[in-house]
């Protein structure tokens, strides 16, 4: 018998042997583990990290908006930018002052007079995920307290 034929015969003989299956216990254990991992991956893929990427960028912009907004019911200038290293494009970021409430005059710890203003701000961000094409608008209402020094009465 030629060498190649001998090998061929042996290969066919080997294929008559089938690898033994995983035990039921091992199979069930691994499947349970996959279910568990899959559950955590659900959170990982569509929960915290995904939104965190967006919220992280927004938080910074919102913070800037809060300190920059002019009082009154008007919108701050739209900001457009690209979030770093995650493929998220910030299309617009707006801080809309919804309500300003004058809470009166107070004297601060240093003895200076200040006017306390309660401001309700709605932060809105439109974000585009370049990978999926999904565009999302995030709205973040919040209340801020602003102390304005008073020099004239």
């Amino acid at each position: 018998m030629r060498e190649a034929d001998r090998y061929d015969a042996m290969e066919k003989a080997l294929l008559q042997l089938m690898p033994a299956a995983l035990s039921e216990t091992a199979q069930a254990g691994m499947e349970a583990q996959l279910d568990e991992l899959s559950g955590s991956a659900e959170v990982l893929r569509h929960g915290f990290p995904h939104w965190a990427k967006w919220l992280g960028g927004i938080a910074a912009a919102v913070t800037i908006g809060v300190f920059a907004f002019p009082f009154g019911s008007q919108e701050s200038a739209p900001l457009v930018g690209i979030a770093e290293d995650d493929g998220m494009v910030v299309i617009t970021e707006l801080d809309r002052v919804e309500k300003v409430l004058d809470e009166g005059l107070f004297v601060d710890a240093g003895g200076s007079a200040v006017r306390k203003m309660s401001v309700r701000v709605i932060g809105e961000s439109r974000i585009l995920d370049e990978e999926t094409g999904i565009e999302v608008t995030l709205t973040e209402p919040r209340r801020e307290m602003v102390l304005l020094p008073v020099s004239t009465f």
């Binding site: 042996m10 290969e11 042997l17 899959s38």
Partner: protein, 175 residues
């Protein structure tokens, strides 16, 4: 996401036996081998979750590599343990087979199964990856960090050895 888990389960059903067979070369018992497979699957899961990999089940060569690495680690710890427990004698479980003959009454298949189990580690892992894993010599060479020619040579040598073993067994049977 349920589908995502199902894809992995189907992959495990399809490939679990061949992964287990490969792991048997590293685990002392079936349970050890199953632990190695589970460890590899767990590592692969996390690896595949990383960016740009899409979370899909991995290619087999990668899993074989992972099992081999886990097996090497297991061997190291086993070696240390054996030194501590030299007085203990382990008994073989003779019902614990690596391969199931398709025809249980085929005596040649049973003998061939024993011959495969008795191959040296170097030869057996190539035979297992090629025959039951369906890997190419190029893929096997990557898993074992050897050249494709060496992988092919080991494969041919293993086939030759199995042929000789089987021939010898037949002669002994008819003697």
């Amino acid at each position: 996401m349920g589908n995502f888990s199902d894809v992995w389960k189907r992959w495990l059903v399809e490939n679990g036996p061949r992964l287990l067979l490969f792991a048997r070369g590293w685990g002392k018992t079936r349970e050890d081998a199953e632990d190695l497979v589970q460890e590899a699957v767990l590592k692969m899961w996390h690896y595949q979750q990383e960016e740009n990999r899409g979370g899909k089940p991995p290619d087999l060569p990668l899993v074989f590599s992972t099992i081999r690495f886990a097996g090497l680690m297991l061997h190291r710890s086993e070696k240390r343990r054996r030194k501590r427990e030299e007085a203990i004698v382990y008994l073989n479980d003779f019902q614990d087979v690596w391969l199931d003959p398709v025809m249980e009454d085929d005596e040649d298949s049973v003998r061939l199964r024993d011959a495969v189990q008795n191959l040296s580690d170097k030869l057996r892992e190539v035979i297992v990856m090629k025959t039951w894993g369906g890997l190419t010599f190029a893929q096997i060479s990557e898993v074992l960090a050897i050249s494709p020619n060496t992988a092919a040579s080991r494969y041919r040598y293993a086939l030759e050895q199995l042929t000789q073993d089987l021939k010898q067994m037949r002669e002994e049977r008819h003697a």
